[in-house]
Subunit: 493 residues, 2 copies
């Protein structure tokens, strides 16, 4: 029976990073994954394919050029499933080959099969080989559970892999339906709804909640909702899918609890994912998952209730982002082997790869209000920056929230092309303790979208000055400080 | 005779920002510009049109998609002058209307005509009106000279406005020649050479110096030179254009001092610009320009040798960037009227809108070496980030330079799509005194190009750790700290 110092279940961002980290510390490491190829949800059905799909859709549709050439502009007239599949398989093969190479280079062993516990320190890995079931037994000093999630299948939804599918089914066989219903207004649902709308597919988005993406600033979400409706996406909020029936021609029809019905060629169900822990036999390890298959951990060490068993990534729940999962995996491996982990990531950015992108860091306005801050907000519209105009952007905003007393940046929320990149400027100022004066006092390349930071900061600056000037004016004839000019279009105001 | 508290000569970024700033301070302001419409070089022949041309070229050529669809991919088969002109005139009209509106809203008066000094406090503005020459006399408490530059016309170059043109001629009547020779390897020359190469025009770039863009890091420029040659751009460095002769069919042929000859349909001369001060009668104001038409100023107050006359923008020389010109204009107006100017912009970013973009902030490696720093460098390749791969980027690097002792960031240099936006992340960390540990400890949205910062910082981090581990190993058996893993492709190493 083989023994490893570290056995990692799952090869997604958390498992992968943890495995390499432990190997760099000189430990013997085995990664177990039941897929034919390594990579986890992120490579196979999650982050990478959906972002590749997004980029492909934007390229083929000519989306980025429509601001100039009009809404009916298309770079390619007919966009079919083969267009999507070709580019995605290219990216997929590349990512997998890079990962396999990285494991090999770092001496990480890989076992293909389904892993499950037989005791807290022992596992069995089962796989089919030449038609027979093969089992391999291993023992481990430390274990990391990084198995990710699988789509939740509620009993009232008749998944059939063809006209009613979950997001994992869908991305493995992407196609362009004549019409699409997306059930679930979370990150995945909003991404797919907007991507297919960019391909001019009629889309209906159904969610049982009254609002989309609750963790984002409401003003930014209002902007998103406006754009989605403007694009023709039908939103059915407060809409509970009671059942799905099929028309005579086989087309699925979602029947909502309030009697509304939505018919389309394809239903994509994205409402919820559950931890992929059902087959791990957690009880044998002395562990128990919650009702959604998730494991509770100490959020500093990533230890489960069994101190030698760690869990990281989507299987421990929010935020379920590839970027934070990597950091969790690294921190878990460092803790497991007594190495210092320089992980100071208090306020990570969040990215939603919808069309357009959304991204945020720090507090939203509603959170700042709930926490009792005395705050001020500023907003920049990208179409008012020169680069936005040059690129033909007719939408997108950058919203900034700061503390009125200390002027420190509290949060940045962006919707618009490039949001997921631009957010890191605000993240740096936020996490290094900067104030809105940083944006006022420093110059930005011209023309750029990043100038939106300056516009939003000046929006706040001018408002704070006006307010303090009023206060001063009550007491004495002291002239107020000079508001620097906004850079809206070449720096004039 | 009208009197103004502030007369501003020129309505480019520096003049415009200064005028609005002074108006906000309650001063009477007159802007003088001899163009039919306001805006200065930036709107008419500089920053805005050339960036619009660039964006148009990238869209029409399908440049961004070639990584996936191959080098011969074109979004539009034939790209003609009318394609360029249409989009540029749209952007141009918009920018001008925004500026005129801004002046009107802030109560800034505009005089169309050529301004010149008659005494240190008096000017005359001359213009043609209904066929007659009209002169208007004004006096001013303070004056700002922000007239910008005009292309330098050396006597040995036979400019004819058709086949031998300067960059101002060219952008006013853009066209797609069958072949192009660009003389001058500065910012403008490199931008046009690479933009037209993206349109598959055969391009030759001639410069008398041995290297391009001397203010940028050599490793980044080496990357640029490789890409330019790879695209088929012929570089003729150390190449002095002695004269231009014309072939029988009228095509211009550049004859170099060493005998080399370069023939093309069009010669675009970008070698140098001179301050547009020749017609200002500076002597009447008690001022004198240098041999290149430029004015010397105090770089903190922007005062010329006449304390009530200021100069800002391209007319005072380096760096001649729209972004810094705006800050100079604002600082000059604030100083002129005794207002505090919160201008702390010690290390602005520089952007070159070539294909691909280049941008930098802080020190280059050669500067760090010259200043005697003990430094370390790290490099990330964008094709090694997941987003770079998804976007089909096959080139581009991010280079980071830090102080070995303090670990503080000294400089960032980027070549690649999005460089001018991405640089602001490094700028924030640099100007807020951050170290490379900032990039190591914080997570980045995945997938993004911004992850290049993490890859480059880890490159440095690992090298510094390895070096300190060697030192420690000489003394005791203390294990070295753990190198966190690089996020190259989903965070594995």
């Amino acid at each position: 029976m083989a023994h490893y110092e570290f056995v990692v279940l799952g090869s997604g961002p958390a498992g992968r990073r943890a495995a390499i980290q432990a190997a760099k510390l000189g430990k013997s490491v085995l990664v177990v994954d039941d897929r034919a190829k390594v990579g986890g949800v992120s490579v196979h059905t999650g982050t990478i394919p959906s972002k590749t799909l997004r980029e492909t859709a934007l390229n083929l549709s000519g989306w980025r050029e429509r601001g100039f050439y009009g809404r009916s502009y298309r770079a390619k007239q007919h966009i079919g499933s083969e267009d999507l599949a070709q580019r995605m398989s290219k990216t997929f093969d590349y990512e997998v080959s890079v990962l396999e190479h990285q494991f090999a280079r770092n001496g990480v062993a890989i076992a293909v099969g389904k892993g499950r516990f037989t005791s807290p320190h022992a596992l069995v890995i089962a796989r089919e080989q030449d038609g027979a079931q093969v089992e391999e037994h291993v023992t481990a000093d430390k274990v990391l559970i990084a198995v990710g999630t699988v789509p939740y299948h509620p009993p009232n939804i008749p998944f059939n892999g063809t006209s009613v599918v979950d997001s994992d089914d869908f991305i493995l066989h992407p196609r362009v339906p004549r019409s699409l219903t997306v059930v679930g207004g979370g990150v995945i649902g909003v991404e797919y709804a907007t991507i297919f709308s960019a391909l001019d597919v009629p889309v209906t988005l159904i969610d049982h909640r009254p609002e989309l993406l609750e963790f984002l600033d409401r003003e930014v979400i209002d902007h998103l909702v406006y754009l989605m409706r403007d694009r023709g996406i039908a939103l059915r909020l407060n809409g509970e899918v009671e059942r799905i029936r099929f028309a005579a021609n086989g087309a699925p029809i979602c029947v909502l609890a309030d009697g509304r019905q939505v018919s389309s060629e394809l239903v994509l169900f994205t409402a919820g994912r559950v931890g992929a822990t059902a087959t791990l036999d957690l009880a044998a390890a002395g562990l128990e998952a919650d009702s959604r298959g998730r494991l509770a951990v100490d959020r500093a060490s990533f230890q489960t209730s069994q101190p030698h068993i760690y869990a990281a990534g989507d299987v421990i729940g929010f935020p379920s982002l590839a970027s934070t999962s990597m950091e969790q995996g690294r921190a878990a491996a460092c803790h497991a082997f007594g190495a210092p982990a320089a992980c100071d990531d208090q306020r990570p950015p969040y990215g939603v790869y919808a069309v357009p992108e959304l991204s945020c860091v720090g507090l939203s306005e509603q959170e700042a209000r709930a926490k009792g801050y005395s705050y001020e907000c500023g907003v920049a519209r990208f179409r008012e920056t020169s680069r936005g105009h040059i690129m033909g952007m007719d939408n997108g905003i950058l919203k900034m929230i700061c503390d009125r007393e200390t002027r420190k940046l509290l949060g940045v929320h962006i919707i618009g092309e490039g949001a997921s990149e631009l957010i890191h400027i605000g993240q740096a100022v936020l996490n290094l303790g900067g104030t809105i004066d940083y944006f006022v006092e420093n110059s930005f390349n011209y023309p750029t979208l990043a100038e939106g930071y300056k516009v939003a900061a000046l929006d706040i600056w001018n408002r704070l000055q006006a307010q303090s000037a009023q206060v001063v004016a009550l007491h004495a004839e002291i002239p107020a400080a000079v508001p620097p000019e906004s850079p809206r279009i070449a720096g004039a105001g």
